[in-house]
Symmetry: C2
Subunit: 433 residues, 2 copies
């Protein structure tokens, strides 16, 4: 059955919602032409506080409602656009929409990361689509390339700088030789970090986005809690100095590796070689490197957040969904699971490591430390020792290892802690080549 006019209902009228609303209203002609059918915004679900604010100026007041039932009972809505964010009440809105046979377009990373599989099962049952391009990387096309353009490939790996706040902080720390705390508070003043920055700086936001990309491409149910996650608050300016000396940048990486029977997923700060593409991604920008067995490496770079870029992705999804409805295309893309495929435990991951230690500067110190690595089967690729404090007879040592298992590394760290010559393990950071 062909439909000539597709109705859109918009839920949420914050920074992103109001931008999406304006684009839908101001570009109705262009959007309809691209969709091949009339695409019409029919209702906007707002909260009481939004009404009468400058955001609503110039928009027909009859479009707004604060009432959930009035919103869902609006006739002729085919696509529900949810840009509220968070799980509550968004999850119940999604379920209500899907059960009513409505297609969904959303920018809600937390909801899709946590409940994507469940929602897709429901969508499948009601033969509608869930579109979530805007949930990952703002306006950077990522979901569509993974879902369509790179679909001939076996996706082997995803390496992503996918959180602008942390990349801004790391860029500042590396350029200016300052520690984490002052940069964070400046980022907060500039609006690059939220008042409660935990989700960003602890890597939780990046883990949501990684869960979505890995679930889409790696035939495994990857939930945020399956992702080993380390944030950037433990980094010190000294680490950036050593990284630079050794030829590396430090980036918060979200990594997914696809093996035939398992998937590795983790978010952590990592050393990346200075001459690699990811090392060059500075400031609030995002970049996602995708490895496919045919395409080798492709990287997508751009602004990963913000109202306008996000609206670009949301509206593109609306156009695609409208086009499909209009021409009766009922094929939708849902996540698949290959039975038996597992998430690899962190202890089994193999990588290289950087370790920075404070030691008592006494004869045999380096030998004792090197001995621990040897005992744990870890081979050292480089060691730097610098005189630190002659009066206190303490020095700082930096060790770079060859690839080693995380389990062995954790055992080594434990033993190092027990060594008399070791005053403190200042930091240890993984190295991605």
């Amino acid at each position: 059955m062909e439909k000539k006019c597709i109705g859109v209902g918009l839920m949420g009228f914050g920074v992103i919602g109001s931008q999406v609303g304006r684009v839908l209203l101001e570009r109705e002609g262009h959007i309809s032409e691209q969709a091949g059918c009339h695409v019409k915004l029919r209702r906007i679900k707002v909260i009481e506080q939004d009404l009468g604010t400058p955001k609503t100026e110039g928009i027909d007041p009859a479009l707004f409602t604060t009432d959930e039932d009035a919103f869902f009972n609006t006739p002729d809505i085919d696509i529900i656009v949810e840009v509220i964010g968070g799980v509550k009440p968004a999850l119940s809105y999604h379920e209500r929409a899907l059960k009513a046979g409505k297609h969904i377009v959303t920018a809600n990373k937390e909801l899709i990361a946590k409940h994507g599989f469940k929602l897709m099962e429901l969508a499948k049952k009601h033969n509608v689509g869930i579109n979530y391009e805007a949930a990952v990387g703002g306006g950077i096309p990522l979901i569509a390339p993974l879902q369509k353009d790179l679909v001939a490939n076996n996706i082997e790996g995803i390496y992503a700088i996918i959180n602008g706040t942390t990349n801004y902080i790391l860029t500042r720390m590396s350029l200016e030789d300052i520690d984490f705390a002052p940069v964070l508070s400046e980022a907060q003043k500039l609006g690059y970090a939220e008042a409660n920055p935990r989700n960003d700086i602890e890597g939780i936001d990046a883990a949501y986005k990684l869960a979505i990309m890995a679930s889409l491409t790696m035939e495994t149910r990857v939930r945020p809690e399956d992702i080993y996650c380390e944030g950037i608050s433990k980094l010190e300016s000294r680490d950036f100095g050593y990284a630079s000396e050794l030829g590396y940048a430090i980036k918060l990486l979200a990594i997914a590796r696809n093996n035939s029977d398992s998937v590795e997923v983790h978010v952590y700060p990592a050393f990346v070689p200075d001459d690699s593409f990811l090392a060059k991604v500075d400031g609030v920008y995002n970049a996602v490197l995708i490895e496919g067995d045919l395409v080798d490496k492709v990287t997508f770079w751009g602004e990963g957040a913000g109202a306008k870029p996000t609206s670009s992705a949301v509206v593109a999804n609306i156009i695609q969904a409208a086009r499909k409805i209009a021409c009766g295309d009922t094929s939708h893309s849902y996540w698949k699971v290959k039975p038996g495929k597992k998430i690899k435990p962190m202890s089994e991951i193999t990588t290289r490591y950087y370790i920075r230690l404070n030691i008592n500067d006494m004869p045999g110190a380096l030998a004792a430390i090197a001995g621990v690595f040897g005992d744990c089967g870890i081979s050292i690729s480089a060691a730097l020792q610098k005189e630190d404090n002659i009066e206190e007879k303490s020095a700082e040592i930096v060790i770079m290892t060859h690839p080693a298992k995380e389990e062995a590394m954790q055992a080594a760290l434990k033993e190092l802690n027990n060594l008399e010559v070791v005053k403190k393990i200042n930091n240890f950071i993984r190295v991605e080549e």
Copy 2:
């Protein structure tokens, strides 16, 4: 009408064709699953010389034919994949396929750049699609993002490093302080440049790709011959030295700028700021920066050529086309033209310039040169003068200008040539900020 099995006919079995053929045969299950219908390779049109070569090993000989009629008369072919390249005989194959109501997937940049509008008219008449993702940037998703993912935007500009051969040569020249000729001959030995490298080094290949991207996004019929085109053979190692001193890299850029009533399209070597993303694209890699009014800047980076990356794009197009046929989606995307929109003449382009001159080192020389720029209404932003050859009393001067019209710049160059103090205009290169 829903179709359960979609037939594919493959034309061309060279480096790319044989890779596409193998992917279609070896991944038939995966491809069919992604397409939502059985996708079957039914016939391969080869040339006599291909038969019996290692490329054909293990493939059912009945699939091959050297006969055009036998190929086109094969029953149940829905999609024709053309990876022969060039205009003859590919154009006639395309026309024959379209007239027979078959969808096209192609990697043929020259054909689409030169005859895309004509072919799309024919395709429209027969209600079939032309898919050409592989014609631009190998496996890097570019056409689909421009066609779908960024479609809510007004595309304001495209800045592309879209030819691997020239980027490899420029990267070597900038790193190693050597001139063009020896690098080219090495690139030819390594297989990065063809025996007849004209299409690459003169920017013609880049112009084909730019014509396609601009025609797709800027509502104007952009043919390759509409694109002002300068190659890289005029560059000398001294230019890279000055560029570096001034904080720039030199890249061969394909540029399209979208104005409301005109389009600017050109390919030329340009200074790009060292800290820009495009300056960091090294070696045979391609990168395309797209500016949209919502998304701001997004960049796509990867291998722009090669059999495997190209097959990734070709097979993705086959899957999309099959999916559309299978579910009866007859909406196809064709290029649009806005009446009255023109290609801006090169003389009206405004940009900054770098000029390198050899002068007679005599009193008043710089004043005379600066006077010419002043007379032509061009303002100078920086000037470097170095003693070059004391015996011959000649020196080299480098001038950087503020933005100026190409017409004024060409007039200035003419006048400079007439000045007694000017021995030679060694080079002039445009500057993109």
